[in-house]
C-alpha cells in the first residue's frame, strides 16, 4: 500500500511553492492502524496555519490575509468592503498584485512561471503594504488596478499593457458584482460573477472576537473566483504573451536542447526534426552521435 508522508514546506519566503493549484495542502499523516488487508487508517492533523484562503477556518487564517487586514484594524468597514479585501487576497494568491504595491515591491517579487500562479513568498510580500483602491458612490463601488506577476518582469509598454487589468466590485443590495477587465485599449473580454455577500461575511456582532470568525465558506469563494475570474484572465494574458502554460518538452530554455539532443543518432534526430518547426530548428544545430 503506497503511503505518502508529506512534509510541510520550509518557512523561508524565498522557497517558491510552485504548484499548479495550491489545493495539495501538506499534512502530517498519523498512522492509526494498519491491517493485513492493506488498508491503513490515518488521521490528518491540519496545518496550524493554512497556506491559502481556501483552507482557512474561522479560527485559522493564512498569514498574508492577516497581514492584509492589519492595515485596516482601526477603520470600520462594511461587509462589502471586507469581502472586497478578501477578493483582493485571492487575487494575490492567483498572481495578481495591486499596481502601486507592484511598483513598490517589484524588486522583491520573484518570477512566477506560467505553469503555476501561487508563490508563497510573493503573496506575503504583496500584503505587507495596503493596496490603493477607490471608493465611489458612498462605498458601493470599489475599484483597483491590478498587475499580473509572470516569469518575465519586462518594462516594455506592450507587455505591461497586456498584464494590467481593473478589478471593479459593485455592491447591489445583498449581492456583490465582481468584474475583472483587461486594461484598455485592449479589446479582449473581461470576466465577471455575482456572489451573495452574506454567504461569506456574516453580520455577527461578536465582541472580543476577531474579524476572521465572521468568514464562512471561503473554499466556495475561492473556487468561484479562481474558476470564473482569476484563472481565465491569467490564462488569457499569458497566452497573449506566448508564455507556456503547461509543462512541456517545448517549454524548456533554449540552451538545454543541444545538451539533450546530442545523445541521439542520425535516425533519431530525423524523427525529432519532423515533430514541429521548433524542434526542427534545434535538431539542425546538433551533431549526431
Amino acid at each position: 500500500m503506497w503511503l505518502a508522508l508529506y512534509t510541510p514546506p520550509s518557512t523561508k519566503p524565498s522557497a517558491p511553492t510552485s504548484i499548479t493549484a495550491p489545493n495539495i495542502i501538506p499534512r502530517k499523516l498519523k498512522i492509526l492502524s494498519a491491517s493485513s488487508g492493506g488498508r491503513v487508517a490515518v488521521s490528518a492533523e491540519a496545518d496550524p496555519i493554512p497556506l491559502c484562503l481556501e483552507y482557512a477556518t474561522p479560527e485559522t487564517i493564512p498569514k498574508h490575509v492577516q497581514q492584509l487586514f492589519e492595515h485596516y484594524q482601526d477603520t470600520k468597514q462594511s461587509n462589502s468592503e471586507i469581502l472586497f479585501l478578501l477578493i483582493y487576497a485571492l487575487a494575490v494568491e492567483c498572481g495578481f498584485v495591486e499596481e502601486h504595491v507592484y511598483r513598490e515591491k517589484r524588486h522583491l517579487l520573484k518570477p512566477v512561471p506560467g505553469i503555476s500562479c501561487f508563490h508563497a513568498g510573493n503573496v506575503r510580500i504583496a500584503t505587507t503594504i495596503p493596496p490603493v483602491y477607490t471608493h465611489l458612490h458612498s462605498d458601493t463601488v470599489f475599484s483597483m488596478q491590478l498587475r499580473t506577476v509572470t516569469e518575465r518582469q519586462s518594462a516594455e509598454d506592450a507587455v505591461v499593457a497586456v498584464l494590467q487589468s481593473r478589478l471593479m466590485v459593485v455592491e447591489m443590495g445583498d449581492m456583490l458584482m465582481i468584474t475583472l477587465s483587461p486594461a484598455p485599449p485592449r479589446s479582449e473580454r473581461g470576466y465577471s460573477v455575482c456572489l451573495p455577500i452574506s454567504r461569506y461575511v456574516l453580520n455577527l456582532q461578536m465582541k472580543n472576537k476577531q474579524l476572521f470568525s465572521r468568514f464562512r465558506k471561503l473554499d466556495n469563494l475561492s473556487f468561484e473566483l479562481r474558476e470564473k475570474i482569476f484563472y481565465p484572465m491569467r490564462v488569457q494574458q499569458l497566452t497573449a504573451l506566448d508564455v507556456q502554460l503547461q509543462p512541456t518538452l517545448l517549454g524548456l530554455p533554449d540552451e538545454l536542447y543541444p545538451k539533450i539532443l546530442k545523445y541521439l543518432d542520425r535516425k533519431q534526430l530525423n524523427v525529432v526534426a519532423k515533430v514541429n518547426r521548433q524542434l526542427n530548428s534545434f535538431s539542425k544545430d546538433v551533431k549526431p552521435k
Partner: protein, 180 residues
C-alpha cells in the same frame, strides 16, 4: 452590415436624448439601450438597480428621465419575457465598464469600452458619432448581450459571406473505424 437598415430608429432615439447628452459615455450607453430594445426586444422600465419588480410593469423603448444624471454611474432596468435585466455602467478613469445582469439566473456579463477613443462627436448621424460602430455592435452582442439574454440571438453579422473549408485532420495510417 447595412448600417442604414440596421440602425433604423437610432436617429429617432437620438433626437429624444440629444438635449440630455453631455458626455461621450452617454452615447455608448444609449447605443446599448438601442440594441437591447431593438434587437433583443427588451423594454426599459426605469432607472436604478433595485432587483425587485412587479411583473405587470410596462416598459418603453425610450430612455427614462434622469438616465444620465449621475456623471460616473448608469443604472437602467429592462424587462423581457418576465425576466428583469439590469444594465449598469461605471466609469473608472478613462474607461466605462458596462455590466448586464440577469436578475433571475444571476448571470452577469461585462465589457470595457473607452468613450474617448470610440465616440467622435456628440451630434450627428451614427456614422459621424461612432465611425467604428459595426465593431462596437459586434463586441456588445458577443461579450455583453448574448451570454446573458437567454435564447436571444444577435441578428447582426459584421462579416461578409466567407466560405471556409475546414480541413479535417486524418492521420494517414489510421483507417476510420465504426464506433460499434
Amino acid at each position: 452590415m447595412d448600417i442604414d437598415k440596421y440602425f433604423y430608429g437610432w436617429d429617432l432615439l437620438h433626437k429624444t436624448i440629444h438635449k440630455d447628452v453631455n458626455k461621450k459615455s452617454d452615447l455608448l450607453m444609449a447605443l446599448a439601450h438601442f440594441l437591447l430594445t431593438k434587437t433583443y426586444r427588451l423594454r426599459c422600465i426605469g432607472v436604478g438597480d433595485e432587483r425587485a419588480f412587479l411583473e405587470d410593469e410596462e416598459g418603453s423603448e425610450l430612455l427614462p428621465e434622469y438616465w444620465n444624471s449621475d456623471s460616473t454611474k448608469y443604472a437602467l432596468r429592462y424587462v423581457g419575457t418576465k425576466d428583469l435585466y439590469l444594465l449598469l455602467g461605471h466609469k473608472a478613469d478613462d474607461s466605462l465598464v458596462i455590466n448586464l445582469l440577469n436578475n433571475h439566473t444571476k448571470s452577469v456579463s461585462n465589457i470595457c469600452m473607452e468613450p474617448e477613443l470610440l465616440v467622435q462627436e456628440l451630434n450627428g448621424d451614427i456614422k459621424t458619432i461612432m465611425p467604428t460602430v459595426p465593431e462596437i455592435v459586434h463586441r456588445y452582442c458577443k461579450e455583453l448581450f448574448d451570454p446573458v439574454v437567454t435564447g436571444k440571438l444577435c441578428e447582426v453579422s459584421t462579416q461578409t459571406n466567407q466560405t471556409r473549408r475546414l480541413r479535417e485532420f486524418k492521420p494517414k495510417s489510421v483507417k476510420p473505424s465504426p464506433w460499434f
